[in-house]
Structure formats: structure tokens, C-alpha cells
Symmetry: C2
Subunit: 396 residues, 2 copies
Amino acid sequence: MPSGFKASGIKAGLKSSGNLDLALLLAPEGAVCAGTFTKSLVRASCVDLCIDRLKVNAGCARAVLINSGQANACTGKRGLIDSVLATSALAKRLGLDAEEVLICSTGVIGEFIPLDKLIAGLDSLVDELSEQGGSTAANAILTTDLVDKQIAYEAYLDGRLVRIGGMAKGSGMIHPDLATMLGYISCDVGVPVDLWQAMIQRVSECSFNSITVDGDTSTNDAFLAFSAGSRLENDYLDILEVGLKLVAQYLAKAIARDGEGANCLLEVRVMGSESTSAARQIARTVCSSSLVKTAVNGCDPNWGRILAAVGRSGVVFSKNDVDLFIGPFQLIQKGEPVMFDRNAVSSYMQERKRGAYLIDDSISILLKVGNGIGDATTWGCDLSDQYVRINADYTT
Amino acid sequence: MPSGFKASGIKAGLKSSGNLDLALLLAPEGAVCAGTFTKSLVRASCVDLCIDRLKVNAGCARAVLINSGQANACTGKRGLIDSVLATSALAKRLGLDAEEVLICSTGVIGEFIPLDKLIAGLDSLVDELSEQGGSTAANAILTTDLVDKQIAYEAYLDGRLVRIGGMAKGSGMIHPDLATMLGYISCDVGVPVDLWQAMIQRVSECSFNSITVDGDTSTNDAFLAFSAGSRLENDYLDILEVGLKLVAQYLAKAIARDGEGANCLLEVRVMGSESTSAARQIARTVCSSSLVKTAVNGCDPNWGRILAAVGRSGVVFSKNDVDLFIGPFQLIQKGEPVMFDRNAVSSYMQERKRGAYLIDDSISILLKVGNGIGDATTWGCDLSDQYVRINADYTT
């Protein structure tokens, strides 16, 4: 883990499966934290608590407690009180103010956290804290994920080793009821809180905010990034941000790839629109279209569905400017179909769907919609009959 | 059919299946027509042609030609020329100006209409015109629809018999590539064109614009309504509009019920928001949520998914004001779960899913989100594994 950071994970008995279900990430003294959260108006009280504490403390935070099993959303006042009690009990054991401790919950909506079990587990959770604890923590935050999602990058910058670590969970913007996408980054470079918040906001936009599995947004989504350590010359901040972006995009793509019922990673890049936000709007519309996603599932180079999604995205463009590529193959030029080898495109899709490539494993759709500077990429996955079965057969 | 209107349908050989594929609707002299069309920027040139002709002629139109098999979208200049040639050839046979004839196409995107076959069929299409031709026409406009969609209402208003007829096609806002929702209304009451356009705009909002099957909007969607005949006292126009609304809603619900892979009709009503448009926005978000639709498929009263969809709809409300009902059962009161009989709610859903009721056959979700005057209803369907198979296995 980045210098000074520790983590741990334990089995507190919150999940009926008996798996790891309680995680802790501890940042060194002087840490600042920036967060981005679900925009849902039906958000869990733990999200409210994180937002309030980061605001009141001007971004100073030292620890985040993460429980999996219960989302503690739609649980009214008692849900909020439970979050306060859990963080207070942990703060006491860590010698911190309660306001320096954050909490994220993921699991079933409408269920209370079994607070006695959680609090009974805190002593061993603190005992287990270590610089090698990241992997256990990354497993303790999972719900219906098929794989854990973690990564660490390091580089020499300004004459010293710099480390960025990250972990995430989620296999949809929202799960059946096992809601929530969570992402955590720790970085052992100290960055002034205002700069850090702006960097994390930008990083979030082009990573976690650029994935879509089923278009549904969770009540509990949260991305928290801690910065703590000696500072770098300002000249190095741009390259640090590149590193943060790589970590966040790795995690975001891992979430999309692990989407419910997903067989492949879908990447949609839009260039040439008037602005980046316009490009992102088109890309998200294509990437979340049920008809595009089912075509990808069927390895069908169905450009009609892609153009139809672009057309309804709400962004203004001229259809005569549109070029469309799937992988290296051009299907549309200046708005009209060009001859292409349908079997070759379908094979390109099939190989990626069955996982023939470890690197460059995504099915890539590239759209050029004009000559503007807008450029954005989003990630998603195919829509399979397994997705429907997972979500239809799941009974609350 | 309403007095003075005629229709016909023939097999012109446009569909490889050999089914009926060319329809004609002829309105009496003096008719006016109002239309609402797809907002997609990638729209077919036949839609452009309809919009232009209605504008240039101030709503005067006499006939609409509808071909099924080819959508004639993304077909560039030749596509537009084909639409002009087809309507000119028909106008000549009907003794009309070409500008009085509209055309709608539905079928595969990117394919040209076999124009020689279409034109060769026009003589018999005109010969077949009759007051009993509505049903044949309603069948000739279908593509992958499982059932035809037609209805006629009549009433005595202002001392005379008034008739409204309607037909529609579509089993999704867009089909695999067999795109398009089409709706047609004929009414034997003459209404001044400005009033008629405003009425049809309102009728369209609460019918065709209030359904969603898969969230994808077609390149060719069109709803055309013809008015021709003697006028009514202005006092009767409100009740005429109620009739138009019933016809349009009947057709719209028939489209949702026939959604790809659908097993039931889903009705989502939102009350108490600040405006009707806000209510519609919430209702559409719930009605098109993949997670809500799969829960409906599984007959799972999963209120967490419904609230999560409300929360991300983009409309501002207080979660403490939310009441939620499925059928007659209340699940949420003032934002918090209430005790309910899960088996009873699931049975309510199961009965409607297996079609136990001919009337009141929809699975109904009612949301109250405040004390405002906003009130809107949308219709959709469940999301099934058949939907995925239909769309993934379909190869262009």
C-alpha cells in the first residue's frame, strides 16, 4: 500500500454466507480526502454522513469503515443513528474524532446493519490493520462481485517513489438490491485539499462516472480518495493526475467487465462533438442502449442500432458528419454505410467476447460526429439473458 | 371507418415473407392532418418529407402511403428521392397533388425500398380502397408485431354520430432493425387546423409519448391524425379530445403489451410532483429501468429498485414524502417501508403476467411524491430473457 496507509478486513457475521464483510482503510496523520457520491435523491444516510463530515472538516479524514451485506438505505432515522454509532465506536478505538471517520455500506436496501455484530468485530478489525491488508479489505467489500478489483501503481517523481493504491466493488451501477459501486484510492503524496478535490472530480468524471452496466444508479455509490504524505513540486501534479486516472479507470473498467451477466467489456469513444460533455452524453447513450448491448451479446455489427442511439442522445450534430468504426473496421462514412466484411467484424467481436485477449480485451466502438474538440470514452458490457435471469429470479 | 375515410392493404412483394406490406389511408376532401414525429437526429427522409409537406401545406393532407419491410433510413439522397417518387406516383393515381400525399416506412434500417415493386402495386392498392379496408391496412403496416392494433370509437355529439378510428404498429420504440412505432387516427369531425394540431400534440404526449419498451427511439416514429367532416360546436371539442385520447392510449398500450419478449403490461402512475412533465419524467424513468422491468418479470415486489429509479430520475422531491403502491397494496409510506403481504403482491403480479384478466390487465405501480398537481401515467412491459434472445440472435 502507499506509504503510511493500512487496511484490514474481517468476518463480522454481517453476511449470511459467512464471507469477509467488514473492511477498514486507515490513512496517516494529515490526510485529506475527496469524495464523489451518488446523485440519487434516495441516497443512504451513510452517504449523507460522508458528505457532511468532509464538508465540516474541510476534507480532513483519516479512516473509512465499509460494511457489506446491508446497504442501510431507506432505513430512516435509525439507519443514520447506526452509522453514527458505528463510526464513533471505531473512532474511539483508533484514537480519532468521530468526525474523522467515514462509513460506506453496501448490500440489501431497507435492511438495518446488525450493529451489535459490527461493533463486536471492531477490535479485531483494528488489530488486523497492516500495510499488507489491502487485499483482504478489497475482498471484504464485495457483494455479488465475481472477482475482487484492486490495483497499485508506482513511479519515481521529483526524486522519490510515489505510490497509488486502489480498490473497488460493484458489478452494476446498482445490483439487484445488493446495491452500490464503491471505489477507494490512497496516495502517498500530500496534495492541498482544494487541488486534490478538483483532481479527484476530474478523475471521477472519466472513470467511475463513465461506466454504465444497466443504467440504474445506486443509493449508496461512493468514490473516496485519500492523499497523505510529503508534497511534490506543482509541476509534477499533472503526471500524478495521469496516474490517478489510470488507477480509477482500471477499477471502473473492472466493474464494467464484471457487470451482471456480462461476457465482455464494451468501450465506446466519441470524438468531434462540440464539447467533452456532449461526447460523453452520446457515448453513454450508445453504451447503455439495450439494443446495442444485445447486439454486442450476439456479436452482430448492427450499425443501425448504434446510429439510432446516437440520434436520440439529445446532442445536436449533423448525421452527414458521422463516421463509425467497430474495432479497426469502418462501417459508416459521412453518415452512409460503406462496404465492410461482416464476418470479419463479427469475428473481432467473438474473440473479445470469449476472452481471447488479455490486453486490449474490449469490443471497441468509435464514433466521429464532427470536427469539434469533444472526446470522451465510456465503458459498459453486453446485455445477456443471464442478466435477466439474475435480476428476475432474485427475490427480495 | 369514420365517414368519408377509406383504406386498403396489399402484398406488393416488399417483404420476403410474402405478407401484406403496403397500406394506404385516404381522407376525404378538406381533411387536415397533424403529426408528431421521432425526435431522433438520425431520422429517415420519409419523416423529413412528412414534416415538410405538412408545414408547406399548413396541415392539408389527403393520403398516407405506408410500406413495411424497409425503413428507408440512413439511405442518403436516394432514399429521399424514392419517397418523392413513390408519393408522386400515388398522387397521380388519386388525382391529388404530390404535396397532399405523405409516406411512412418501417423495416430494416439502411435498406432501399424496392421501388419498382412498390410502384407496380399502386394500381391495385388504389383499386382496393374501401370503407371496410381498415383492417387489411392495419395488418399491412406490421413488421415483427405479434398482433395487429386497431380500434374504433363512436359517440353522439352535438346531435350526430361521430367516429374515431385508429391503427398502430410497433412492439418497441425501435425494433431490432425493423424499427418504428407508427400510429394513425382518422376522425370524421372537421376541426380547424390550429386547434387540431394542439389537440393532437396533447393526445400524443399522454399516449404514444408515454410508452417505453426498451428506451430506444426509432429513426422513423410517426403519429398522424386526420380530421375531415362537418364541424362541432366548440363546446364539444373537449369531449372529442377525450375520445381521441382514449383511442391513442388504447393503441399505445397495445404497442407496450406487444413489446418484444413482453409478458405483461406495466403501468406506472406518478402523482403529487410539481408539474405533469416532472411526473412523466419520474414515471418514464421507473417504467424503463432494467432492474424494475426484470423485477416485474420475476413478479418480485422489489420496492428498493423502484425507489432507486425515482431517486435518479432527475426530478427534485423529498424522499420523506414518497408513498408507493403496487396494485392495491401499499409498500412505502412517507419514505419508509410498511409491512405488507409479499405473497399477495406477488400473486397480484403473477395473475396479470399470465393474462388472467382481460380488463385491468396491467401491473400497476402508483407513486405519490408530494402534494403538487403533477400527474402522469406511462406504460411499458417487463424485460425477459426472450427480449435478449430476440435482439441478440437477430443478425443484420
